[in-house]
């Protein structure tokens, strides 16, 4: 490895975006790549997944929930690291607060500490979420948020706190915060390899387990692809791009409302013979109190399937009543070539893939 080559360390390389970013830097071939994973098993899995390119990567175990996670990143290596891309996080909306604090908040603190020990660091890129601004409504600028609007769940709270950790503790570091919108597909083909609350909610609707959804019909939803996020974060990690906060999200004009997304999804569902046969009605959009009544009452009038269904939906329910207008002019200026996909085409392709693959159960479609 040439000492003159930049060295990028990607945390959370076993996760969805971390793995994509690791692969991206390996494919470019102009970086020495260090990938961190949470466990030994994760190291083997990642090496297998990235092979043969993984031979060119150094994969180390670093559990961000541990008190001193970067013991395997020795001092020699720290002196050579030029870029840190911090993608490790617990991203479940229903994560409990303690785990979210340990991994997402304190873990980010460990990354900032590591960054301080890298004298040649030119970029610390922190992957965040548009929901790190919590329940803030209206125009949201690409700038640090104080968290004053409150949060819908512990995940959002932890990502907001992690951002403030980077901004406050890393004020002398070359930091960038990339607030990522909801990743609905790997790319514009609609292929989905990792499910999140968006996919799980549609699944519940498809199987007729949820006829009430939280939200207002006109709430805008910001969708991106894994490819687009990977490209944007990789470019924002280049010190040629100014530091600061970015919204890796389409602007409001390239979003769909909740009602439009449901219309597109159910239009596709209704083309499926099995779904059509069951005559499952489109879900009703419930006001916040009605949905909270449902969640609160579910223990007495529903069983384990509905319980699990609501456990997936309930933690982000409050966001479905929050109309965010994400300003992304900084992203546009830094990455003028970055283009948001057509949202209707993306949702249609994604739902098509989900239905055809039965949410991944029909492996031949997924493969």
């Amino acid at each position: 490895m040439s000492p003159s080559r930049p060295v990028v360390l990607v945390t959370g390389a076993g996760g969805y975006l971390g793995r994509r970013l690791g692969r991206r830097f390996l494919d470019r071939g102009d970086h020495e790549v260090v990938l961190t994973v949470r466990t030994e098993a994760g190291r083997s899995a990642l090496a297998h997944d990235l092979a043969p390119a993984s031979a060119r990567a150094q994969i180390v175990v670093a559990d961000l929930g541990a008190p001193d996670p970067f013991t395997d990143v020795d001092e020699r290596l720290r002196r050579r690291i030029t870029h840190i891309v911090h993608a490790a996080a617990v991203t479940r909306f229903n994560v409990d607060r303690e785990l979210a604090r340990q991994v997402n908040v304190e873990g980010t603190g460990h990354v900032v500490t590591l960054a301080r020990q890298c004298p040649h660091l030119v970029r610390l890129a922190h992957l965040s979420t548009v929901y790190a601004t919590g329940l803030r409504e209206g125009v949201i600028l690409e700038e640090p948020d104080d968290g004053a609007a409150g949060f819908a769940n512990a995940y959002e709270w932890s990502k907001g706190a992690a951002e403030r950790c980077v901004v406050d503790q890393g004020d002398d570091l070359p930091w960038t915060v990339a607030r990522v919108a909801t990743v609905v597909a790997d790319d514009e083909s609609g292929r989905v390899t990792q499910h999140n609350a968006f996919h799980e909610t549609l699944k519940l609707c498809f199987y007729g387990l949820l006829s009430l959804l939280p939200g207002r019909a006109d709430t805008p939803l910001y969708f991106v692809t894994g490819d687009a996020v990977t490209d944007a974060v990789a470019r924002l990690s280049d010190p040629a791009a100014p530091g600061g906060v970015y919204h890796v999200a389409p602007d409001r004009s390239a979003t769909l409302t909740l009602e439009q997304v449901l219309d597109l999804a159910f239009t596709r569902f209704e083309q499926d013979e099995e779904f059509r046969h069951k005559r499952i009605l489109r879900p009703l959009l419930a006001d916040r109190e009605s949905f909270e009544l449902l969640v609160g009452g579910v223990s007495s009038f529903a069983g384990s399937l509905v319980h699990r269904a609501l456990a997936n939906v309930a933690p982000f329910a409050r966001q479905m009543y929050v109309a965010k207008v994400l300003d992304n002019r900084r992203l546009g200026a830094a990455l003028p070539q970055h283009r948001a996909p057509d949202p209707a085409a993306l949702v249609t392709a994604t739902v098509d893939h989900l239905v055809e693959s039965r949410w991944g159960r029909r492996s031949e479609v997924v493969a």
Binding site: L209, S211, H277, K278, R279, L284, G297
Partner: protein, 316 residues
């Protein structure tokens, strides 16, 4: 539509009144005491060993304040097909004669009450909605056959021995209900009826049943009111089935109704009386003396099949 009216509400319950605790302890439920209590259930009524669904029907009709004189038809509904044949299964097993599968309770009721002029019609396969379905059919009979004046509607069910007394998270009571649909007078004018069936969900599990409950019930009531040219704001009362009140608190909000107008006060004492809930709750509402002439009341029921039925009635 030919004017028609509803009156003579009556009901009878299984002879053993059991507490939730007793039935949970006896293994009659799937849910625990805490879940059923949280859903508002306190007691339910189970037939004694020698009590049949037909006995309940006879008790319900016999308990009416006015005897069913001058009845032109009996519409007799059962939720469970087993309750439409009074002969014990052993009789057919021994004889192999299918007439032992046709010991009809409606015929026996006609004979027992001496309603010689009445024809009998059996209604089945509508589950918990079968009383509302019977009233709807009676209304149709009055419209189709001008010589008919009064039709007795009866629904009666008891669960067979060994059955679990819980369905879709509701505690069940054995019971019967009756009412009379007439051409000229009654306590309520029948304004509109609506029925949705989704046969593809006939084998739906409890979670799918709950999953469909809100959207289908919302559609049912919305379409019923549209038929009648009314809006939710016109409703004085909603008389639903005895299920967790939280479900109707949610539905009331979705429909734009005041949930204090949803009346299912019998739930704690009576539980879910299969297809008799609307009759039981409307009777309780009458007893409270709060109904006024001109009040619009919607009776709503969901049942397996899947069926959703609702009636819109106006207090006379």
């Amino acid at each position: 539509m030919t004017p028609s009216f509803l009156g003579g509400l009556s009901f009878a319950l299984g002879g053993r009144k059991l507490s939730v605790e007793e039935s949970v302890a006896a293994g009659r439920t799937l849910s625990g005491e805490a879940e059923l209590s949280d859903a508002g259930f306190r007691f339910h009524h189970v037939c004694t060993d020698d009590e049949s669904a037909y006995d309940l029907a006879l008790a319900a009709v016999g308990g009416r304040p006015d005897q069913p004189a001058g009845i032109d038809a009996i519409v007799y509904a059962t939720c469970l097909p087993v309750n439409a044949n009074l002969a014990p299964p052993s009789r057919f097993e021994a004889s192999g004669d299918v007439k032992d599968l046709m010991d009809y309770p409606a015929s026996r009721l006609q004979a027992a009450l001496g309603l010689d002029r009445a024809i009998v019609v059996g209604v089945g396969q509508q589950a918990c909605t079968s009383m509302l379905g019977s009233i709807r059919l009676a209304r149709g009979l009055l419209a189709a056959e001008p010589e008919m004046e009064r039709i007795l509607c009866v629904s009666a069910d008891r669960f067979p021995p060994g059955a679990r007394y819980e369905q879709a998270y509701s505690l069940i009571s054995d019971g019967a209900a009756s009412c009379v649909v007439t051409r000229h007078d009654g306590d309520y004018r029948l304004v509109a009826a609506h029925h949705i069936t989704n046969g593809a969900m006939v084998s739906a599990g409890d979670d799918e049943t709950v999953g469909a409950y809100f959207s289908y019930t919302h559609r049912l009531v919305t379409e019923l009111l549209a038929k009648a040219g009314r809006t939710p704001a016109d409703l004085a009362w909603v008389v639903p089935q005895n299920t967790d009140p939280k479900a109707w608190r949610i539905l009331a909000r979705l429909l734009g109704l005041d949930d204090e107008r949803v009346f299912a006060a019998s739930l704690a004492d009576v539980a879910h009386v299969i297809s008799g809930d609307n009759v039981v709750n409307l009777s309780w509402l009458e007893e409270r003396g709060v109904l006024e002439s001109g009040d619009l009341v919607v009776l709503v029921m969901a049942g397996y099949g899947m069926n959703w039925q609702a009636l819109l009635v106006e207090k006379t």
